[in-house]
């Protein structure tokens, strides 16, 4: 395991591997092979979950807030896009306007939900976000005049680019691929900027950061809004790809799936998210025979991971950083506190 981690940490090897993977992924839908449409769909969906995972990673890894209700932002993005671009209200705003708008609406929701819970303790916060996720789903289910309830909304518009309508799976595949590249690029830039430095300072020790003049509240809100934005984008893409949405598409399991993805991959790390997505989303579809057992394996994996390796499979060096911030692993400082009821 150590050798593998070391190997991957070697910059040249990593870059080489990424280029190869990149070329493969780009050419993949061009080739012709049996059940191509199905495979493009599987990898495409894994990609969508990578986008969601990156969003949740910002909440959990950067803002240090365990979010069990990420599906709420996914849902808000999806429904917003659908209201703007379907036969439901007979609005047909262009995808390229409606998608970012959906992201913004989700970001706004993120700020609104984050505000009152900023001071909450880790596990209470988690439950509140879970509650919020369920409230959004229940509202989608019961506000039938607006959302059509359990019957869902169908005939959602597809994106149109240069006159080409995105009717095939590979259209969305490439869209998601480009977005992932874009966000990886943006995130790298962001982390190196003063915003990123503030986030890292907050992660290390929030009290010290606050004393150095960092407005932790604003930075947390920003991180939360950004993560929610990505969730919203993902929702818009999902809505237009599937062509129909139902409240059940945004249930607790979706939130937990995305969470498992980033925990198993290692909270530090975009590459961890990718590994997590492949492992949790693509693999079960690939190993069709085992798909019935997917969830029970998740459950066992979560327990085992927490006991054995809470920092995930591919932690960024130094290994315990992000998990410390979120509170999955104790810092030396935490361990020493007296009268600690954990």
């Amino acid at each position: 395991m150590k050798k593998l981690t070391l190997l991957i940490s070697n910059k040249k090897v990593l870059t080489g591997f990424l280029i190869l993977a990149g070329i493969f992924l780009v050419c993949f839908p061009m080739l012709d092979f049996p059940q191509k449409a199905l495979w493009v769909r599987i990898i495409g969906y894994a990609g969508l979950y990578i986008l969601l995972g990156m969003g949740l990673l910002i909440h959990v890894g950067l803002a240090g807030m365990l979010d069990l209700g990420f599906a709420a932002f996914y849902a808000i993005g999806a429904y917003t896009y659908t209201f703007l671009a379907s036969t439901h209200f007979n609005l047909h705003v262009s995808f390229w306007l409606a998608m970012p708008f959906a992201g913004l609406v989700a970001a706004l929701a993120g700020v609104l939900i984050c505000f009152p819970v900023l001071r909450l303790r880790g596990d209470y916060l988690a439950i509140v976000t879970l509650g919020f996720g369920e409230i959004v789903r229940l509202l989608a289910l019961n506000l039938t005049t607006v959302t059509n309830g359990s019957q869902g909304i169908i005939y959602i518009d597809k994106p149109v680019l240069f006159g080409i309508q995105f009717t095939e799976g590979y259209h969305f595949y490439y869209l998601i691929f480009i977005l992932i590249l874009l966000f990886v690029f943006l995130m790298n830039r962001l982390v190196k900027s003063h915003i990123g430095r503030a986030w890292m300072a907050m992660r290390e020790d929030e009290d010290v950061a606050q004393m150095s003049g960092i407005n932790t509240t604003s930075y947390k809100l920003l991180a939360f809004a950004l993560g929610a934005f990505m969730g919203g984008l993902g929702g818009a893409i999902f809505a237009s790809w599937q062509g129909s949405i139902f409240p059940d598409n945004f249930n607790l399991m979706v939130s937990i799936n995305v969470l498992c993805l980033i925990i198993l991959g290692g909270l530090g790390n975009i590459y961890g998210v990718i590994i997590g997505a492949i492992g949790l989303i693509a693999l079960p579809d690939i190993l069709r025979g085992l798909s019935d057992y997917r969830m029970i394996i998740f459950g066992i994996l979560l327990i085992v991971m927490m006991i054995v390796r809470p920092q995930g499979f591919l932690p960024r060096r130094p290994p315990k950083l992000e998990t410390q911030a979120v509170g999955l692993v104790k810092t030396p400082l935490q361990k020493k506190k007296k009268g600690d009821k954990k």
């Binding site: 909450l120 880790g122 988690a126 019961n142 998740f298 327990i303 927490m306 509170g327 692993v329 954990k342």
Partner: protein, 342 residues
């Protein structure tokens, strides 16, 4: 509808609220006791409730097979309650040993995630029992099955009562009869449930107040390390706490099965959240608080029906949860443990 009719409807709803509140209270006790001694949200507690319902289902069907249900229904019901709660207790203690004890020294969030894993595991296990059993008994050695077809059929029939994805229905033991008071129809089964729950809760409260175990539980809840220094076997206390809490949840599970007839592997999630809400509402860690919280939530839900369409019942519970956690996390009776920031 005249005024008298509306009063009757209102009283009916009150009765509903108290019945449902009894279930919430029973399950909430488990949450609150565990939180008291471990400062941990046992996310899997709702699934213990579900396991109790299934074990009870299994029992009542076997008792029906041997004719006991017909000849002595009261005894059959008592036995079903016993096996349901004891079985759930055993499962609860096992989960504690495997998924929580190793994380005693880890952070709260790690335990929460492990608890999520345990919850998923239990739900999936119950769902998959018949599938797994079918796979096992159909094992062939050298092309021939080990067991004769009749044996396999018999095993399948019995195992079928232990789980499976399909909804299962309890036999209708509790009668639908009742008596009428001033236009209000009160069924005997409702009275039975409310009474049994109340009696058990009072007994529990007394036990915790009086017995050595109860005192030890309170000591551990106050300060685990000091309690251990005073000679209290902390592990034993925790195990017993889980035992009692899980037994109560299991009992509630059997009652729900008998009263509402239907059970399914996912039946624990929503009642679990509502029971947790009740515990928080009454003051987490506070035993009488959990009881009161349960009834308050049950009544709040039915009262909300007077103002909102009935389908928003669950939303009400989640909204109450969020509001309490944000504005008064110590709950109605005040929390037994102090609130600390992560």
């Amino acid at each position: 509808m005249n005024g008298n009719g509306q009063l009757v409807v209102f009283l009916e709803q009150l009765l509903n609220g108290i019945t449902v509140g009894s279930f919430y209270a029973l399950v909430a006790l488990g949450y609150t006791m565990v939180y008291g001694v471990l400062s941990m949200i046992n996310f899997a507690h709702g699934d213990i409730f579900m396991v109790g319902a299934y074990i009870g289902f299994f029992t009542i069907n076997r008792l029906t097979d041997v004719g006991l249900t017909a000849s002595n229904p009261t005894l059959a019901i008592i036995l079903t309650f016993l096996t349901g709660s004891l079985g759930a207790a055993v499962v609860g203690v096992t989960v504690e040993r495997i998924a929580y004890r190793p994380l005693r020294k880890a952070t709260r969030l790690a335990s929460l995630i492990s608890a999520i894993g345990a919850s998923i595991f239990l739900e999936e296990l119950v769902r998959l029992i018949p599938t797994i059993a079918t796979a096992i008994i159909n094992i062939k050695i050298g092309g021939a099955a080990i067991l004769a077809p009749q044996t396999r059929q018999a095993i399948l029939k019995i195992v079928g009562d232990m789980g499976g994805a399909m909804v299962k229905t309890y036999p209708g033991i509790l009668s639908n009869d009742g008596f009428v008071i001033g236009g209000l129809f009160v069924s005997y089964s409702r009275i039975l449930i409310v009474l049994i729950s109340a009696v058990i809760m009072v007994v529990l409260y007394t036990l915790v107040r009086i017995t050595k175990l109860g005192k030890a539980m309170r000591a551990v809840a106050e300060d685990k390390d000091t309690a251990s220094l005073m000679g209290i076997n902390v592990n034993q206390v925790i195990t017993r706490t889980f035992f009692i809490g899980s037994a109560l949840a299991g009992l509630a599970g059997v009652m729900v099965g008998m009263f509402y007839l239907q059970i399914k592997p996912t039946m624990g999630f929503v009642p679990g959240i509502k029971a947790f809400t009740s515990a928080v509402l009454g003051g987490i860690g506070n035993i009488p608080g959990a009881m009161i919280g349960g009834y308050v939530l049950g009544l709040a839900e039915v009262i909300s029906i007077l103002f909102l369409p009935a389908v928003y019942k669950d939303v009400v519970a989640f909204v109450i949860l969020i509001l309490v956690l944000i504005f008064k996390p110590t709950g109605i009776l005040g929390s037994a443990t102090s609130q600390k920031k992560m």
